[in-house]
């Protein structure tokens, strides 16, 4: 005990003494120009990138945290956060699965996570994850052959500066919102995808990510560009519960689809929701936006969210090109003390633009969730059409679901349809299933999965199966 405390003390002093020392792996807590310069230097970025970050920081300083959401959480002290920390050294990590919380392992098993991936996810120091190395290489070769660029955002800044300069911040501007500005100033991780004209990305960008998911950063920045007639399906996250020492997550994802391009972005997110009282859970404040910049382009968001203590997230589409299409399919599950404020924005700018919103919210335990959706139709958007369906399912009587649909329609030749339902999981449905011999837990899963079907069928096959398993693990013990 005593020696451990001592060690911590030593370590703290050690890091605090490192304000400008570039050899250090961790920036001390706090945010100022020095921190940003430190990050930029660590990432070996060119000057223009540093300038870009500093301008974002200037904007952020003038902004204040949004308070319009339906969330309730203690104030975040942004000066107490460390904005750059290298991953834990192998010797500080568990050395084998024997040292990992058995409960976590049990969950992996229930989710059907392959053995070799469990170790990586649990943060075990595995050198050379045998399979993943070869998977990664063959993967990269195949992509290169097709001309697809897929790399970390830091690598893209160094290797493909012209593309990054052209597109970064053009969908989510630095001053867009408080969290986006913060991310622009301090982002350290994330990915970059460029699919050249006429190319259909030869594989779903997924496997690679599952394996590396354990190392995702606190301020991720993702930029995906699909050139004319190009297509890509991108999968983010993984179903395994992820723990992270960093409580605050503020990612930015920007998608750009040029003429006739199609981007499908699927997310299955399962951040640690905290203990029974919500303690220690992740705060997830994300800005995700897709820009249908070209005519006939299409962007589709599909997400299954089960984790986090707090979620603030509105994947949106700017439908600028004529005949462009935006879609949003979402399942959000909250249990325990979780809070979620999610939704989407569909901004119709071009003619004949079409959007579809299907949102399924499931609240159990003492959780609380809100759906917030904006459909905006600008004057030029003739024949724009939106269909919104937004359903909530309550399990138990201590949870809540709220719906806030906003519509701003400035073109009379457009059509907007909205359907919303809130229902309690039916006692009679449960009884019906049970009277067929199915136990209560399986019956709940069956009914909930049925409720989510419209969204699950949008997910890539392998993800859909995982999502179903995830739902049942999340709702375990929520009834009875």
């Amino acid at each position: 005990m005593a020696s451990e405390e001592m060690e911590q003390l030593v370590r703290r002093e050690y890091t605090q003494g490192f304000v400008t020392d570039i050899e250090s792996d961790t920036a001390p807590p706090g945010l100022n120009e020095d921190t940003i310069a430190f990050i930029s230097k660590k990432k070996e970025e060119p000057q223009w990138m540093l300038d870009w970050r500093l301008e974002a920081f200037e904007q952020w300083k003038k902004m204040s945290e949004p308070d319009w959401s339906h969330l309730d959480y203690p104030p975040i002290d942004y000066q107490a956060i460390s904005y750059f920390s290298a991953p834990k050294k192998p010797e500080d990590r568990p050395q084998s699965l024997d040292e990992v919380d058995p409960k976590l392992l049990e969950t992996y098993e229930k989710l059907g996570i392959p053995l070799h991936e469990r170790a990586a996810l649990a943060g075990v120091a595995v050198d050379a994850v045998f399979d993943s190395v070869s998977v990664t290489t063959t993967f990269k070769d195949k992509l290169a052959e097709a001309g697809v660029i897929f790399c970390s955002i830091s690598e893209a800044i160094r290797e493909h500066p012209e593309l990054v300069k052209q597109y970064l911040g053009t969908v989510v501007s630095r001053g867009d919102n408080f969290f986006a500005a913060l991310n622009s100033a301090v982002f350290t991780d994330g990915s970059f995808v460029y699919v050249p004209e006429g190319v259909e990305c030869p594989m779903e960008l997924s496997t690679y990510f599952r394996i590396n998911a354990a190392n995702t950063g606190q301020f991720e920045r993702t930029l995906i560009i699909c050139d004319k007639q190009a297509q890509v399906s991108y999968l983010e996250g993984c179903t395994a519960p992820q723990r992270d020492e960093n409580q605050l997550h503020a990612a930015v994802v920007e998608l750009v689809a040029l003429d006739d391009a199609y981007i499908k972005y699927s997310t299955v997110q399962n951040w640690y929701p905290g203990d029974e009282d919500g303690k220690g859970g992740i705060y997830n404040f994300v800005t995700k936006r897709g820009d249908c910049r070209g005519d006939r382009s299409k962007i589709s968001w599909t997400q299954v969210e089960t984790g986090s203590a707090i979620t603030w997230k509105y994947p949106s589409c700017l439908l600028r090109g004529d005949d462009s299409v935006g879609e949003f399919y979402s399942v959000a599950v909250t249990n325990g003390r979780q809070q979620a404020d999610t939704g989407t924005k569909m901004i119709h700018i071009g003619k004949n633009t079409k959007s579809t919103i299907v949102s399924k919210g499931i609240a159990a335990g003492r959780s609380d969730q809100a759906y917030r959706g904006l459909v905006k139709i600008l004057p030029r958007a003739e024949n724009a059409r939106n269909f919104t369906q937004c359903d909530s399912l309550l399990i138990g009587d201590q949870c809540g679901a709220h719906t806030f649909p906003y519509q701003e329609i400035s073109n009379s030749k457009s059509m907007v349809e909205h359907e919303a339902t809130t229902s309690k999981i039916g006692e009679d449905q449960l009884f019906y299933c049970q009277s067929r011999g199915i136990n209560e837990e399986d019956a709940v899963n069956m009914i909930v999965n049925g409720f989510c079907k419209d969204v699950f069928q949008e997910l890539p096959m392998e993800f859909a199966v995982e999502a179903e398993a995830l739902l049942s693990v999340t709702l375990e013990g929520s009834v009875g």
């Binding site: 006692e427 009884f431 019906y432 299933c433 067929r436 011999g437 199915i438 069956m446 009914i447």
Partner: protein, 250 residues
């Protein structure tokens, strides 16, 4: 098979069943008739284990076991299956999926493994054809958008797949056209065997022409006021129920 002794049950403090006695032996088909509100559905619900009803007195023994001590799903696994008067809709859950989950749950309880997919499909298709339902019903969500008659057929389809020891049928004939009545009755009759019993609730003698009962009970105001053979049903059809109460008052 089933023995009900002095069963009293109430809902929200109102006593509905006021001392029911009923014994069903293996192989027997019993029919329960009685005016609206007599407690027929209540009796089936109590047998199936609906927690909305409180049993205040009496016992129910099923295959030698105390039924009231068993959870809803355990009753089904032990072979007691209820065909609902108003089957519920479960959006998004495929009919075939519910059937398979139910069958596997019962097999598991019997210590058998999951049924292999091809064997299951063969079984289901066969029963589906028997009920004159087309294959699309398997892929549709449970009861969602089914017509009244289709829902009833679907209940019997489940019975044919799950092969219960005791089938409880609550007004399985209501809302059926003449052809459907034949199909449903055929389905039920195909379940009849030496070791299987059926308890059906109905308002009409007509069903009993198709499915001949061994015993008919008249339930009124929470009690079985008269039991007899199938001629009792004809008598009720002719004379109504009033003479029975007058008789019991006198």
């Amino acid at each position: 098979m089933l023995e009900i002794k002095d069963l009293h049950a109430s809902i929200d403090g109102t006593e509905i069943l006021k001392g029911i006695n009923l014994t069903i032996n293996p192989g027997e088909v019993h029919a329960i008739m009685g005016p609206n509100g007599a407690g027929k559905s209540t009796l089936s619900a109590v047998l199936a284990g609906n927690e909305g009803y409180e049993v205040t007195q009496g016992t129910i023994t099923f295959e030698g076991e105390d039924l009231l001590e068993m959870a809803v799903e355990d009753r089904a696994r032990a072979g007691l299956l209820m065909g609902f008067q108003y089957p519920v809709e479960i959006p998004g859950v495929k009919n075939v999926y519910l059937l398979k989950a139910a069958l596997n749950a019962q097999r598991e309880a019997r210590g058998e493994g999951e049924i292999p997919a091809p064997e299951f499909m063969k079984l289901v298709r066969e029963k589906l054809a028997y009920m004159k339902m087309d294959n699309s019903f398997l892929q549709r969500a449970v009861n969602e958008g089914f017509s009244g008659g289709e829902k009833k057929r679907n209940e019997i389809l489940q019975m044919l797949v799950l092969q219960p020891k005791l089938a409880l049928l609550d007004e399985i004939d209501s809302g059926l056209d003449i052809d459907a009545m034949k199909v449903v009755s055929q389905g039920v009759n195909s379940l009849r065997s030496e070791d299987r019993s059926i308890l059906m609730v109905t308002h009409y003698q007509r069903l009993l022409n198709h499915i001949e009962p061994d015993v008919v009970h008249i339930l009124m105001d929470g009690r079985v006021v008269k039991s007899g053979d199938k001629t009792l049903a004809t008598e009720v059809e002719d004379r109504g129920y009033d003479w029975l109460t007058e008789g019991s008052v006198a």
